[in-house]
């Protein structure tokens, strides 16, 4: 992480001091207390796609905004278990999907399934990147999207380390589509847990407070030594996420990149952004100063030539006068 802050030392220090970067002053951001999340256990998932169906059902059968509504899919679509693979990703007609991997760690023959959806980061990159504040990290834990201000710049898609947000490229009035942890549905009382969590027959998905889930995850890891990798994916990645994973095979082999680092997304840009007001203050000083100096120099040069000309004329006149 220290390597990332290898900006010119003076620049970084100045930026930190003047941008009010609270990280430097000792205040740390713990996130909202009592925010909820989900723990996914890759060793329990059997790839039945019930979570996908539950998600599609709740988001197509309820009246919500255009950007929280999905087109209803035929149950037969989710019953097809053969089409799962390791490259498919969500598009604008779904908030989640299950990928199937055949990891090297198990000899490349046994399938391991992983559910992909928004990770609901503690410090979301999408929210940091959005120039119209379309994303909100709610106190409940979900990262929600407000399409009513969205311009469609798609910087959120660039910024998200997992490339979660999908876009309605085929629509003439397009929106981003992304898992919202069933926040509007829970708020409206239609459900107490996200639809995918409720639909899972294997308890591969567990709902709870983030701190409790981390505790639970480590309990599970400790209780069966040698089964799980001693790591809770999302505990620290990108500063921590509310949707976390435990797995018995290396995370990279089930499509969870392990090169993301622990720096929260806003911190990646706060140093450089802090220099912007400094440029606004100092450049006019520098440029105005240089301009004054060149003006002054030119005037002095002008006076010097005039003086030299006057002297030369006086000498000539004196000569002619003799």
């Amino acid at each position: 992480m220290k390597r990332r802050h290898f900006l010119g030392l003076a620049g970084a220090a100045t930026a930190t001091a003047l941008a009010g970067n609270a990280m430097a002053s000792g205040h740390s951001f713990e996130g909202y207390p009592n925010s909820y999340g989900v723990l996914f256990d890759a060793s329990r998932c059997i790839g039945c796609r019930q979570c996908e169906m539950g998600c599609n059902t709740i988001n197509s059968e309820n009246e919500t905004k255009p950007w929280t509504t999905l087109p209803k899919k035929d149950p037969a679509y989710f019953a097809d278990l053969k089409s799962m693979n390791d490259t498919a990703r969500t598009d604008s007609t779904m908030y989640t999907l299950v990928n199937k991997y055949e990891p090297q760690a198990l000899g490349g023959k046994s399938p391991v399934y992983k559910k992909f959806q928004c990770f609901h980061c503690k410090e979301p990159a999408c929210a940091s990147a959005c120039f119209v504040k379309a994303f909100t990290k709610t106190p409940e834990g979900a990262v929600t999207y407000n399409g009513s201000v969205c311009v469609g710049c798609r910087y959120c898609m660039i910024a998200c380390p997992w490339s979660v947000p999908a876009y309605q490229f085929d629509k003439l009035v397009p929106y981003v589509q992304k898992c919202h942890m069933c926040h509007p549905h829970i708020k409206a009382g239609r459900t107490t847990v996200p639809a995918c969590v409720g639909a899972c027959p294997m308890e591969a998905l567990v709902w709870g407070k983030r701190e409790d889930l981390i505790h639970q995850a480590w309990e599970r890891i400790r209780s069966v030594p040698g089964t799980y990798l001693p790591h809770v994916y999302g505990e620290h990645e990108m500063g921590g996420t509310n949707w976390m994973y435990i797995s018995s095979v290396p995370f990279a082999q089930i499509g969870l990149p392990e090169n993301l680092g622990q720096t929260p997304a806003p911190e990646l840009t706060s140093g450089a952004l802090g220099l912007v007001p400094l440029v606004a203050c100092l450049w006019p000083v520098l440029l105005g100063g240089i301009w004054q100096i060149t003006q002054w120099k030119d005037r002095k040069a002008e006076e010097a030539t005039q003086k030299a000309v006057a002297e030369a004329v006086a000498v000539e006149r004196a000569k002619a006068g003799k």
Binding site: A19, G20, A22, M23, F29, E30, G31, Y32, P33, K122, E123, P124, A127, S128, K133, K137, P139, P264, P266, E267, S270, L273, V276, P277, A280, C281, P284, W296, R299, K300, E303
Partner: protein, 51 residues
């Protein structure tokens, strides 16, 4: 003002920074006119007009 999420603090502090820059710009114009303006003439034997 307590922020639970660093992102929320960033939105607020950067909004302050941009507003500050706009205010500085407006004040700079007034200050520049003051700096380069002439004092009402009293009895000055030398004018540092070329500075």
């Amino acid at each position: 003002m307590e922020f639970h999420v660093y992102h929320d603090q960033m939105v607020f502090s950067k909004a302050c920074a941009y507003i500050l820059m706009a205010v500085a710009l407006v004040c700079a114009i007034g200050w520049w006119k003051f700096l380069t303006g002439k004092e009402p003439k009293k009895n000055s034997t030398h004018d540092f007009d070329d500075v």
